[in-house]
Symmetry: C2
Subunit: 223 residues, 2 copies
């Protein structure tokens, strides 16, 4: 059996050490040939141009380049690399974005040896692996069998409540503590336009007010 090459991408050394230690002490250890590290998305992309990795564990929230963008770019160059997302949070938006970007797995950082091994085995054999909490989150709203469900979600994904460019831009300015009037001035638009956008964003995200908007802005990492 061919041994696998792994890349760990996370801006926190202790977390990288944690994964490394967990991998080296797990059931999959004999099948691993090397474990490389990168501190952010940019470095990960660079390393992928030099080496070929079988599995990449990718953190989502990182400075320089986040895991979602890095995943997209890496898979553009090499579709055979398997990318497993790693996150602190089981946030709907992050999960779906990573899946959309091409990740074949999603684990939370409170994962132990057994789950990590299971995920590696599954993915090496061409499967997909979502940790339990993540899967539950993903499959909550829809009926059908589990496999169908994931398919449904992928298809529905585009119609989902993801903001448009303009909306994102306005959300950023809201987060910068500007009023609608100030935003309008900034973008050379009517205040009423910003009113509408703001309302649409609130509806799309199903939040109640500005507080909800800012929390979402944090969630998707634009703050």
């Amino acid at each position: 059996m061919k041994k696998i090459k792994i890349l760990l991408v996370d801006d926190h050394k202790l977390v990288r050490n944690g994964i490394k230690y967990t991998l080296e002490s797990g059931r999959s250890a004999p099948f691993i040939s090397s474990i490389d590290e990168a501190v952010n998305g940019d470095e990960a992309i660079l390393k992928c141009k030099i080496n070929r990795y079988d599995i990449i564990f990718m953190d989502i929230n990182m400075p320089e380049k986040d895991g979602i963008a890095a995943t997209k770019e890496i898979l553009k160059n090499d579709q055979f690399t398997k990318i497993i997302a790693l996150s602190m949070y089981d946030e709907d938006y992050e999960i779906r974005s990573m899946i959309k970007a091409g990740a074949v797995g999603y684990l939370l950082k409170n994962t132990g040896t057994e789950i990590l091994d299971e995920a590696i085995q599954t993915i090496i054999n061409g499967g997909k692996y979502y940790s339990n909490d993540v899967a539950i989150k993903l499959l909550e709203p829809n009926p059908g069998t589990s496999r169908e469900k994931i398919k449904i979600i992928r298809e529905t994904n585009q119609n989902e409540s993801v903001l448009t460019k303009r909306e994102l831009q306005i959300l950023e300015l809201i987060a910068a503590e500007l009023t609608n009037e100030e935003i309008a001035a900034e973008l050379n638009l009517s205040k009423r336009t910003i009113d509408s956008h703001r309302q649409n964003i609130i509806n799309k995200l199903q939040v109640k007010n500005t507080a909800g908007l800012i929390k979402y802005a944090f969630k998707i990492g634009i703050i």
Copy 2:
């Protein structure tokens, strides 16, 4: 030389593994007798009632009970335990709160073996250890020698623009997307009282509006 007993407190298993691995592979390894783990502040407090630990590595942001509260409570029962704060972020507020709570060290999670060893040695010998970035943050605004500086900060701490209990409570409810009226109902107070508090908080924090409030709430980790 007496071997030391260590407790790791963090809600993420990978992070606990990371610290453990880093400790076990470091220079301090021969001096460590055991490494115990807890997943949140509550469990840490409980474990401290059963065992005596020489050093506790304490995460700050955790569910159930955060690191600041846990630190206070643990030190109330045993002042000889040395607590080292561990955080993702070098946020002023967190650092100062942990120092105030009695932590003798503050490390960021991107710490490697060398720093970790250095910190342990320093603290075992009765010293205090702040990782470089943290120390810089702490000492930025004030003149004087480093030791004096820390003293100054401790004394100034109370006069600082930190929110009162009530204000924090209201900020949390604002972050939960409640309106002032709903908050008033929740706390059995007049809406006008909440209006006043909200205004005071905005003034204290020098932010412009709700967006600023929520960003601050994130910064201090109450979201």
